[in-house]
């Protein structure tokens, strides 16, 4: 489907010959042919996708692709549905890459998805059993060859009947027909490279960590090797009872039952790792408030996010409006040049601005300390409150030219009569500005200010690329001093050792609700939506 969009550009640009809708003979116009070609391409791609999805058993993709393909064909071959012809290309992308990801994020927000909970229950059982395995007393040492195919490693062991078995991490042993054995020792198999002693030593860590299941039943144990030359059978000390869905310790008979929260837990509270991904209801949302280690950082970040977004908009608007008022005057020459120069920070890519400011504010070598302050040490981005003030100033630097531009435009479109009337009534400059001009300007710029607020509410780059969300008071802190919600989410999901995707998704949904709510209120008050009819 994507091809439709890209390929449509050249074809759509050229004017096609006049099309008379009433006559059949003129149906084959350039436009119609272009449409046919594009649709054929889309269909070909779609069909390819259907076949490929079928081949890899990717049912979700198939379930989306077939209806989509049908819908596209119906829309473009129908004589009606004209608006749909213009909406479908964008909608396809919107549904897949925006709506779907929002829905998925919403779903993940209600799960415990994250480190220790990132796969299915079956995977968790297998991993727990493999971890608990101990070497079987007196079990024979199996001669082992370690094979490699690409990045994957395999164990090749004799099956005791003159043949060999092959298996890998998470892939149970199975017969390896055609394996080469020398005096009962397996040495190789077509399609795989046999590792030399040197290779094995280089990859010791990977190879000794491997646990090759003996069969598809995880209770049968695994093969492990201490040195890459011989393998021993390891039997789990825990027994998995699939019917009851619980693990029993062979040693002391302790029962680890499914806690319902994606873990096996014993009556005395011992939790087995790893767990698995499972829905946990509103736990992520409530933990933000009920867990003290999370509540403090979250509320701090929430408050700072509002201060940051509102502060940026208000300050940038104040600076932009002042400049527009001062410079937008007939007595100022080179207004056009001035404006071009003043909008340079806006034209300069924001991700670069953040990095450049980071360099200028470097406490040891940066320009601000070295030159402007004569070598004094001020850790602009290293102390909590100073860092907050600094990121605000830097963000105002990035945002004020936009406000300057829209204020210039808004001032120029103010009706002159209103102002003259005020002057005739004897109002001074300040009064005219405060009581008449500013309200009028606010009315006309309000929708843009709201958009600017919601943009800055989620202005990840200007925080992350400048301070990384820091400084952190303690290295283990959940949030840094300048972290706004979106960088806090990033920290939860990608920073540190304990990644909590579920929690991150829950906060993402909260951000969505906050921004959407505030924008809805704002737009309602500014009546922008009334223009829609």
């Amino acid at each position: 489907m994507p091809q439709v969009v890209i390929a449509a550009e050249p074809a759509s640009g050229e004017p096609s010959s006049r099309l008379r809708r009433d006559s059949h003979s003129t149906l084959w116009t350039k436009g119609f042919v272009a449409k046919l070609v594009l649709l054929a391409m889309a269909d070909a791609l779609g069909l390819y996708g259907v076949i490929a999805a079928w081949a890899v058993r990717s049912w979700p993709i198939l379930a989306v692709l077939i209806p989509a393909l049908l819908a596209v064909n119906i829309v473009y071959f129908s004589r009606r549905l004209t608006p749909a012809k213009y909406l479908v290309p964008g909608l396809v992308f919107l549904l897949v890459y925006q709506v779907f990801v929002i829905l998925y994020t919403g779903y993940a927000a209600f799960t415990n998805y994250g480190d220790g909970h990132n796969s299915t229950k079956a995977d968790a059982v297998e991993a727990i059993l493999a971890q608990s395995a101990i070497r079987v007393e007196g079990s024979p040492a199996l001669d082992l060859a370690v094979l490699r195919d690409g990045d994957d490693y395999f164990f090749l062991v004799p099956d005791g009947a003159g043949g060999a078995l092959i298996g890998s991490d998470g892939e149970a042993l199975k017969a390896a027909p055609g394996a080469r054995l020398e005096a009962g020792r397996p040495v190789g198999l077509d399609g795989y490279d046999t590792l030399s002693l040197g290779d094995i030593i280089a990859q010791t860590a990977v190879i000794t960590a491997m646990a090759v299941p003996c069969s598809d039943d995880p209770n049968d144990g695994v093969l492990k090797t201490p040195d890459g030359a011989v393998a021993y059978a390891y039997i789990p000390t825990l027994l998995y009872d699939e019917a009851a869905g619980q693990l029993t310790s062979q040693a002391d008979g302790a029962v680890y039952a499914d806690s319902g929260e994606g873990n096996f837990i014993s009556p005395d509270g011992t939790v087995l790792q790893p767990g698995w991904k499972t829905p946990i209801g509103f736990r992520n949302f409530t933990s933000i408030i009920t867990e003290p280690s999370l509540r403090g950082p979250f509320l701090g970040v929430l408050a700072w996010t509002f201060v940051y977004a509102i502060g940026t908009v208000v300050l940038a608007f104040a600076v932009g409006l002042s400049l527009a008022l001062v410079l937008n005057h007939p007595s100022v020459k080179f207004r056009r040049l001035l404006r071009s120069l003043l909008i340079l920070p806006y034209a300069f890519p924001a991700f670069l601005s953040a990095m450049v400011w980071q360099g200028m504010l470097n406490p040891q070598f940066g320009f601000v300390n070295q030159v402007l302050l004569g070598g004094r040490w001020v850790d602009w981005l290293g102390e909590a409150w100073l860092a907050r003030a600094t990121v605000l100033v830097v963000n105002v630097w990035m945002a004020f030219p936009y406000m300057f531009l829209i204020c210039t435009g808004a001032i120029q479109s103010l009706p002159a009569e209103v102002e003259e009337a005020a002057r005739v009534d004897g109002a001074g400059w300040l009064r005219t500005f405060w009581n008449i001009k500013l309200p009028l300007l606010l009315v006309s710029t309000a929708p843009l200010l709201i958009s600017s607020f919601s943009m800055n509410f989620n202005n990840f780059n200007s925080i992350y690329l400048l301070t990384g969300g820091g400084p952190l008071a303690q290295p283990t802190d959940k949030a840094g001093a300048t972290d706004i919600l979106i960088s806090f989410v990033y920290r939860l999901a990608f920073g540190g050792v304990n990644r909590q995707y579920g929690l991150a998704c829950a906060i993402s949904m909260l951000i969505f609700i906050i921004v959407a709510g505030i924008s809805a209120l704002g737009f309602k008050r500014t009546k922008v939506l009334e223009e829609m009819n």
Binding site: P2, I61, L94, V101, S331, W397, A516, M532
Partner: protein
């Protein structure tokens, strides 16, 4: 646009008795009265331009460290640019080409998808039209940046069926960006499309033009300014994206400027400042050039979105 309404600030500066127009005295007199305005302009210029001058100067400084960059334009050489383009561990040339490619394709795609949708919303009356517009506004409140976990999983799954749309593919990344093509752009364009009188469409229709012809040959030309604005905003937005690009693209040769330069700065910050600066200047150059070239459109487009009339 550049000419201010003469009365804009009249109460603040009452018209004085004018000396003979054209005389040197007149010029001086006017300059004197406006001098505080020039002082403000100067302060604003210093604030606005200093960081940019700093990075340009650093990029030409042969010593190349952050400390040495503090003496602006003391020595000039293009050595940093040479180092930048020949550094084998940081393939800057690739990053630059990737960013331009991804940005340009996304911009063109966004304009096309957005314009089509805006045309439908502006010119046709259909069931769900108002609801559709509202939904678009709502959906764009959810920045894709928030959904990188879901995007990562989606692209992992897609890779099995359409490898070109999967992880570590630039085309795949462009598709993700195009998912955000509707939304704010459509609404911005919708407002602008509405300012093109319907009577134009109707007369074309009477002449026998199809809706496709009206769209491609009449409307699109009349709304060119907003198309330029949306293309530019989309290009800049794409170029600035850090999170999604860093999640999707993993091979160094495939990465974008934002991801690549961030690695630069987080790895060897103060010693390689000059090389970073030259990379930043080269990266900013095309964006600033396009921005300045299309300034007229951007200003009119931005204000048309707000001060309609």
């Amino acid at each position: 646009m550049a000419v201010a309404a003469p009365s804009a600030l009249a109460p603040a500066v009452p018209p004085p008795v004018r000396p003979a127009a054209g005389s040197a005295l007149a010029v001086l007199g006017r300059a004197g009265r406006a001098s505080w305005r020039y002082a403000v302009a100067l302060a604003a210029l210093v604030f606005a331009l200093f960081p940019i001058l700093f990075v340009v100067s650093a990029s030409f400084n042969p010593l190349g460290t952050l400390t040495s960059s503090n003496s602006l334009f003391s020595r000039v050489s293009i050595g940093n640019y040479g180092d930048l383009l020949t550094d084998p561990t940081h393939p800057y040339g690739h990053w630059f080409a990737n960013s331009m490619f991804i940005g340009a394709v996304t911009a063109v795609g966004t304009v096309f998808l957005g314009a089509c949708a805006a045309y439908a919303f502006s010119r046709f009356r259909f069931r769900g039209r108002r609801g559709g517009l509202l939904t678009l506004i709502l959906l764009q409140m959810f920045p894709q940046t928030l959904a990188y976990v879901a995007i990562f999983l989606l692209l992992t799954t897609l890779k099995n069926v359409f490898p070109i749309l999967g992880l570590d593919s630039q085309v795949g990344l462009v598709m993700v960006y195009l998912g955000g093509a509707l939304g704010v752009n459509t609404f911005l364009m919708y407002g602008f499309f509405n300012t093109v009188p319907q009577s134009l469409d109707e007369s074309a229709k009477i002449d026998g033009a199809s809706h496709g012809q009206i769209f491609f040959t009449i409307i699109l030309r009349l709304v060119a300014p907003i198309l330029a604005v949306v293309a530019l905003l989309s290009f800049i937005g794409t170029l600035n994206d850090f999170v999604i690009a860093s999640v999707v693209l993993t091979t160094p040769d495939k990465q974008t400027l934002a991801v690549g330069l961030y690695q630069y700065i987080s790895q060897s910050f103060s010693e390689r400042w000059g090389v970073f600066a030259s990379g930043a200047v080269l990266a900013a150059l095309p964006v600033v050039a396009i921005f300045m070239g299309l300034q007229k459109y951007i200003v009119s487009g931005l204000t048309a979105g707000s001060v309609k009339g």
